[in-house]
Subunit: 413 residues, 2 copies
Amino acid sequence: MSGWTTLAEAQTMDAADPLRAYRDRFTLPEGLIYLDGNSLGALPRATPARVAAAVEAQWGHDLIASWNKHGWIEAPVRLGARIAPLIGAGADEVIVADSTSANLFKLIVAACQAQPDRTTILTEPGNFPTDLYIAQGIADLLPGRQVRTVPVGEIAAAIDGDTAVVMLTHVHYKTGAMLDMASLTMAAHAKGALILWDLSHSVGAVPVDLVGCDADMAVGCGYKYLNGGPGAPAFLYVAGRLHGRLRSPMTGWMGHRAPFDFGDDYAPGEGMAPFLCGTPPILGMAALDAGLDTFDGVSMAEVTAKSRSLSALLIAGIEQRCAGAGFTLVTPRDPATRGSHVSVAHPHAWEVCQALIARGVVGDFRAPEVLRLGLTPLYTSHEDVWRAVEMIAEVMETEAWRDPAYAERAAVT
Amino acid sequence: MSGWTTLAEAQTMDAADPLRAYRDRFTLPEGLIYLDGNSLGALPRATPARVAAAVEAQWGHDLIASWNKHGWIEAPVRLGARIAPLIGAGADEVIVADSTSANLFKLIVAACQAQPDRTTILTEPGNFPTDLYIAQGIADLLPGRQVRTVPVGEIAAAIDGDTAVVMLTHVHYKTGAMLDMASLTMAAHAKGALILWDLSHSVGAVPVDLVGCDADMAVGCGYKYLNGGPGAPAFLYVAGRLHGRLRSPMTGWMGHRAPFDFGDDYAPGEGMAPFLCGTPPILGMAALDAGLDTFDGVSMAEVTAKSRSLSALLIAGIEQRCAGAGFTLVTPRDPATRGSHVSVAHPHAWEVCQALIARGVVGDFRAPEVLRLGLTPLYTSHEDVWRAVEMIAEVMETEAWRDPAYAERAAVT
């Protein structure tokens, strides 16, 4: 284990971390090392009171008047504008609505319908399942459409005049690989195709510059690095130049120009409004709002730097401290091409993951053999990473993971 | 005002009300007469603690483990099974997911796709806007489909071999008229069409017997009489005989047979599962769960009887106590054909509504001239209705509504 960092060195890194104070914005269970904020972000300290206010002072006391009095009706637009600076979008290019899956549905259909002479939804095999499934459902729904998957390294070359939309996840949920948004967007545009980015594993943890990359569309998740709570509402982005050109197929009343006129005929609202559908989920919006507060005053450049520092330390720990334990690094070694989680393959990843959880180090497992460890710049410390590595080393050295109890299967994340 | 009830008589009716104790299950602001539970149900007394537990003990402390440990992943199915008895459905025929608008989208598309040789979505003009808008969006999306609207009295005769799906709202949001589900369903089936019922203004307030009526599909809202909170998740129903035959176009990962296998190819789950799409909104689910608790031990026959008793009293009050004030009853007089709200037309309905709200009687306005007063059997009392009528009479007799301040427009409900 020569060369592996000491606890004191990790603590020194934390002392120099400009984001260290932000950990206090979260409630983290005593003694737990939580490396799963890429699946479900931790609870912000301010969230319980915020949600309670929405429930008691707003819903309970002001009842229906809260739609105006407490800005409920504006929540999708207001929260979208708060997310926009985290992803390099204009404030009027992002709204919060529905789930990531539903937003993928709206945007892929919109992209296909806007280009009736292009038949293909192009993506990579092994993309996050809901992205693939939604695309497949659309191909079944719309006559003549198809989903084509090619390995991500061949995507740029595969885009052609038949490509309606390229759909990619910016940071891969399993491998942690981060794609080059600028060059892939340029490749799509060179062939006249639209591109849709899934930012679920990016937003709040890695740099994203949608406008700078000239991206067309994006979706993302509210409950990972945005700390919006389980099943938080998701967001979607459409470049301003495409507003009015892309049409959501889900023409619910919240996307209408004047929903409270209660007219019989649909007429889409301005800007992003037509990508709203039903009544917004206010309790989820309140929690997401509090989650976004955890980014108040935070420099995204510092978030990026911290993410890279944490993941570099974790990779070093796995490769140095746990050398010989049978792990293979899945996540790219170049920090510019990885997101904020580190994945390692191991033939017994499931049991190892369970053994770690039993010892208070919470990562997660992705079939068939990936142990995934998420690093949330706002609350994960270098000391957390150091202690997690030590625990992994212990579990591997003692072969504690061989306890048959850990083989039991009940994965949900 | 001869013949109009006295306060003592209203109180006597309350004393004999078998549901009177259930009012204590709700937090109602002191001094407010809330007649808008048909738009946003009142806050159940148990909800704040239930939501706080989901936020703090579950999300905050148990984090990602809560998906299994606290049954988050089962919430859509579990809550669906709780709603089922309120609408005469089998426990495995209802799930909670997304918004009413999104659920309408899934089911109308499914119905159209299942019957490719039938082109028409048949509904009534003046149906709730989102129902009409969603249908119009689908007609734009799917080649050869169209929306046809005919007055509701002519619907049965208009169903023909070209009708893919008849979509109707069981209790009309504006008029309060309740349709004959059994006969209209039979009329649809006689012509080989499917029928979809929107139960948003029915569920929890009036008798609904989906299985008894042989209904095919239904959707409904969680935030009205179910007291699930603002923007609560909605529900959808598909008759068991149609499971596997109707396919949701929104093939998100939660509808997959094995979502946590993370496979590349969509394969629908069993039963209602394919009508799930994205990750369920857990905070909204927790609040809806507490809302459903307000029905524990409640007889739906008593709910129906109370609803009719309250609305009969309100109609009598408007017609007797407020005679000459210019109101026209919009809601049907026959209790078997009305829901649980009473609507009256008045040329100055907006100002009257605002004047009443200023005096603590909260109803709502529906353009262009309807004052809508909702009666929630679990918490509205006959005394509430009596006091509301007296306030309406005062506002009309003194012409208090003529205050120009009440003409200002800011309606959102």
